[in-house]
Symmetry: C2
Subunit: 418 residues, 2 copies
């Protein structure tokens, strides 16, 4: 079943705001077996909104429109839609009641700017919400139109609880689409392309997509069928084939992040970890603690931006810092051992490097990073050269450090470079 | 001057990948005085790409197309464009040379999949690049078409160095558009709307936009004129008017982030800071160190996820943790004093809270956060209730903590709630 998404707002066409609403909606619709054929983004402009609506009415069975339903003066979607579809605006009593009730619950007054949100095109049906929002639907010939606010949390709530169930109730026997994402780290697109040549003939029933998500590369697999178990079997088989040629470069599937994978292994093994971060400034700890339940294995860490902090908090030797420098193999090793000792954990993970833009030298240019990992009686270390902005270097360093946990505990070799 | 953007890729229409390319391009074009009237996103589908191209050729003076120019099998933009515009594909020698040269510089071989990238529609002119990419331009009647790769770094590089200069070279006397963003934290959209009513009549020459960027709210001002100094004067005057009614809620303009502002004040005052993070897990340190030069004032921090770490690293008293709990006002205060002492800094900033989804109680539900700040001989503390997912609660906590630095050093009162 074909449909499309229209997002409205000058903030989008002028590049002030990233349109994450259409991304979310497209993902949810696709996962439900519906197909999004186009996403159109236009400004708060009568002519362009009208054209987008008319174009969509001629191509699609359902249209989801987001943006411009709020209380501020630049929220004019209702007005534009009323004119474009020739359905005069009038006060929708049900919406007015809903807004009053929600205002009261939040201890707010019903201001004229809020009252304006209840002015809707003739024939609108409101989408019920526990949020302070004002979505509605319209039927124009046999096309279902849904109008949602641009505020992401409200849009997502209404899409999931009202719009998707309504669309799906109109159709039966939708073909099922199974998708799976395989996430790789450490191998570029050309390397993946070459590896895939070894699969020839084994993967014909699957449509592949290849997507760089710096610093990772993602491979998507898509299978269509009316039989759910056939889809799952095919995806499992092909995933096995791909893992056969890509090996440990594949670190996760679907929504799992590197920190979820690292955390899961630590959790299964009943191991604890601590981190000592220099150039990443807390990013590794932040990522580890994005995982619910991480307090079970993550005990804490230290952010040691200064040499004094490295000595005082981690017992890195003064002599090491003086002779080898703060960005060195030995410093990374001593940091890893020091944090492990300090926080009494099974593993101690450390990074030290030059995130830039300043601070690089000829011997140690910006992007030079040393990683240390203390585990059991052993200490491992290695160094890398990352590229890009300060934030890209921090991101890549944190991914590599988390990958060290995964590779170490699975007994895969560490990556030698990237 | 009107133009539009077309992004191509099944990964976009299926919601697997967020389209940040059109966002970047729209922002850059707008800043150059050009107007983007539409952004259209379609899958790798002959019919939909053709329709988008034809629609754009009839509406715009320039069209920027991104995606599908790479080496993998799903990169079929060149083929589709060749058919849609009836311009057969042929090997572009200049592009072939450029790819060979760039392959060699990276120590890679020229594989057939890379060679395919040099097959281009008749009449194409290549866009020169120092990256391993393959953008080109075409002129169709009097419309300029630019085709760019979907990989963000390559797209951005070609847009900035080739496409923008080329578009601008075609036009003279473009009206200038001045934009400024005022970022606020701590006041909702309705509060901003009400405050703006006090400005009536004083701001007529400016177009405003109001955009929630959770947990912040941004206000954009846009002025059009042929006189650059008039634009600047108007923006300065209106900014002053808005600051007059919104006061300390306005924390930054344009690209400055809360961490830039907090860092700048610390830097100007020659003050140093350290952080003690529980529920944020390193996020505050990560944000502080995203600012180049932050090593001048940020000495480090500790991530104390466990009670033992709070005691051992920060000298939080065992009795405090036992009687008040790890998430309490007194713990936040002792953490702030402890980290300041430990890292010998002027300020010590601490947060402790419940990020969820588990761990909440009736007295201290998920989202409960205590902040402590030690400065000079004083210790400040406060508590908040934040909403949303684990990551939203972490994000809001980190913004509030950074805002405490700004408010404390500027002698603004701390926010009492949000």
């Amino acid at each position: 079943m074909y449909g499309e998404i229209i997002t409205i707002g000058n903030e989008l066409t002028s590049g002030r705001t990233l349109d994450s609403n259409s991304y979310y909606a497209a993902g949810r619709l696709t996962a439900s077996g519906l197909q999004v054929i186009r996403i159109t983004c236009v400004g708060d402009n009568f002519k362009m909104v009208t054209r987008a609506l008319k174009e969509a009415l001629g191509s699609s069975r359902f249209v989801i429109v987001t943006g411009g339903l709020g209380p501020t003066d630049d929220d004019i979607t209702n007005e534009i839609v009323a004119k474009a579809l020739d359905r005069p605006l009038s006060l929708n009593k049900e919406m007015s009641e809903q807004l009053k009730r929600l205002s009261k619950a939040r201890g707010l007054e019903m201001t004229p700017s809020v009252e304006k949100m209840a002015l809707m095109p003739e024939g609108s049906k409101i989408l019920k919400s526990r949020h302070f929002s004002c979505g509605f639907s319209l039927k124009e010939k046999d096309v279902c139109l849904y109008f949602l606010p641009g505020v992401s949390s409200q849009m997502r709530h209404l899409l999931d609880t009202s719009v998707l169930p309504d669309i799906l109730s109109h159709y039966e026997n939708l073909p099922l689409i199974g998708q799976r994402v395989l996430k790789t780290y450490g191998l570029g697109e050309p390397g993946i392309t070459e590896a895939f040549k070894k699969l020839e003939g084994k993967t014909d029933e699957v449509v592949f997509g290849f997507y760089p998500h710096s610093p990772e590369n993602h491979i998507t697999m898509s299978v269509q069928s009316n039989d759910e178990s056939e889809i799952l079997n095919t995806l499992d088989r092909i995933e096995g084939e791909i893992r056969g040629v890509l090996g440990a470069y594949v670190f996760a599937t679907d929504n799992d992040r590197m920190e979820d994978i690292a955390g899961r292994i630590l959790d299964h093994r009943h191991l604890t970890i601590s981190v000592a971060e220099s150039c990443t400034g807390g990013l590794i700890g932040n990522r580890l603690t994005n995982v619910p339940g991480s307090s079970g294995y993550f005990k804490g860490g230290v952010i040691v931006y200064s040499n004094e902090a490295k000595e005082d908090l981690l017992n890195v030797r003064h002599d090491t810092l003086k002779t080898q420098g703060a960005v060195s193999d030995l410093t990374a090793r001593e940091m890893a051992m020091g944090v492990r000792e300090r926080l009494q954990t099974d593993l101690g993970l450390a990074v030290t490097g030059i995130a830039g833009p300043a601070g690089g030298t000829k011997e140690k240019p910006v992007g030079t990073v040393y990683i240390g990992l203390a585990s059991g009686g052993q200490v491992f270390s290695g160094n890398y050269r990352f590229w890009g902005s300060r934030e890209q270097i921090k991101a890549n360093t944190s991914t590599m450090a988390l990958d060290w946990i995964r590779r170490h505990l699975n007994e895969y070799p560490f990556l030698s470079g990237i």
